[in-house]
Symmetry: C2
Subunit: 273 residues, 2 copies
């Protein structure tokens, strides 16, 4: 792909500029000529759904996804129903904000029984699908790095995500490939191929050595060891031609000026994605 | 298994008492009636191989393994040969110290090309096998948690370890199952079954939430989310009846009195392993 084609896919995942609210992030992207944005629910909640929608529409920006639904496992049936209800709200918000993709971070288990928690994830998705479909929203299962299996998601590999997604039509459930979470997987390229026509999101950042923090330790593209370009090409070969989100959760980046960060993102994206 | 049978398998992996040298660790185990010990090379180096051997023999303790060989990938052929030479020394030390098992931490890649580094691991093991066999030493491939793929080992799953080990006779190359590294793996029980007759080591600790440190953050059995007893039973069903090493890399434990730590290990081992 030529550089122009690639730049047209660039999306700012809003968590990368956690220091900014929705208005600032949108203004920053417009200034930096970044055409897409992925919106986080806690940022939407700060100013309300309608105001967020107004800002996004006025800017002309396209919304690549809403982050995030999921968190399905919980100790009691009542809590699991509450989680599901929250996912329904997330679907409504996604539709209202003008994106057809809700990213799912599936959740950790409430206890030591990881198999049952994985079953609760599958059950939760199964219950959510008809509701999401009625809003024209696809569910994107994002496997998280295994180091988050105890506190963020029991779905740790693209293989697991594919196995769940394959139960549904590609327009209902897909997978999200985030290089930070999957780069180490010996089955990576095989599972990307298996996900053909089901990839609904592609996220980039980097794995720096040593990782500065378990949660807020993702690196800028080019600063780490991930073969980002190789993975991007594999995802493209598997039929994904949608937006590419830069999603960097990193305290040092949050402490910088947002405009500088966007400038660097564009440079690194061109060089390394 | 009855408790007595289990206690007879208990082994102190020496890194758990990093505050102690070989003599102190051996004395501590004798006092605590822990019958096995796994020895680390940097501790042996502090006092020399012959002195370490003398201490171990005088104590009557059994040596479950030597930690560690591996670290095969390197940027140049010359460096890779140096790594191999170091592995040959590790094999000699294992034989001299009276254990038939050398644990392999296979090493990170020197660059972004993880596939080539994985090939170098397989090549290194292949070259080491005849030498190790001539000393009666088995190579135990220990898959490390994927969060160490960039700085400790490109072998991240039991599946990968099995695929390499299966190229050899079970008396030459086996796998080491460490619950901290593999608990999250959706293929865990299937891969333990696949490893039947090839498991040459079993390590326990726990995954606490949140993990206090990427490297020195392992927990005491019972303090975390790992189904240790379930994994122990699976390993046993797969034919492993050897020593069970308690391997906890944790600064807070290193800051405690070694004797107290051994006392707690015995309690937790009885309750949770």
């Amino acid at each position: 792909m030529d550089d122009k084609g690639l730049m047209e896919k660039l999306s700012l995942n809003q968590i990368t500029t956690e220091q900014w609210g929705v208005q600032e992030a949108v203004d920053g992207c417009v200034r930096a000529e970044i055409p897409w944005i992925s919106v986080w629910r806690h940022k939407v909640a700060e100013i309300g759904l309608q105001e967020s929608k107004r800002i996004l529409q006025a800017s002309g920006m396209k919304v690549s996804s809403l982050c995030r639904g999921g968190m399905f496992p919980a100790a009691t049936a009542r809590e699991r129903e509450e989680r599901l209800e929250d996912n329904r709200r997330a679907v409504e918000e996604a539709a209202e904000l003008g994106t057809d993709t809700l990213v799912l971070v599936c959740g950790p288990g409430p206890d030591r029984d990881i198999d049952t928690s994985r079953k609760w994830v599958a059950d939760g998705i199964d219950k959510l699908v008809p509701f999401a479909q009625s809003y024209g929203v696809k569910l994107g299962i994002e496997p998280l790095h295994p180091m988050y299996a105890a506190d963020r998601s029991v779905i740790s590999t693209l293989g697991q995500a594919n196995t769940i997604a394959e139960q549904y039509h590609p327009g209902q459930v897909g997978v999200v490939v985030d290089v930070f979470h999957v780069w180490w997987d010996p089955e990576l390229y095989q599972q990307i191929e298996r996900a053909s026509s089901r990839i609904v999101g592609f996220h980039v950042s980097d794995w720096v050595v040593p990782v500065p923090d378990m949660f807020k330790g993702r690196g800028m593209m080019g600063d780490g060891v991930i073969e980002i370009n190789r993975i991007r090409q594999a995802v493209q070969t598997a039929g994904y031609h949608g937006p590419i989100e830069v999603e960097i959760i990193n305290q040092a980046i949050w402490d910088r000026k947002g405009n500088e960060v966007l400038h660097e993102i564009k440079e690194r994206y061109q060089q390394h994605v």
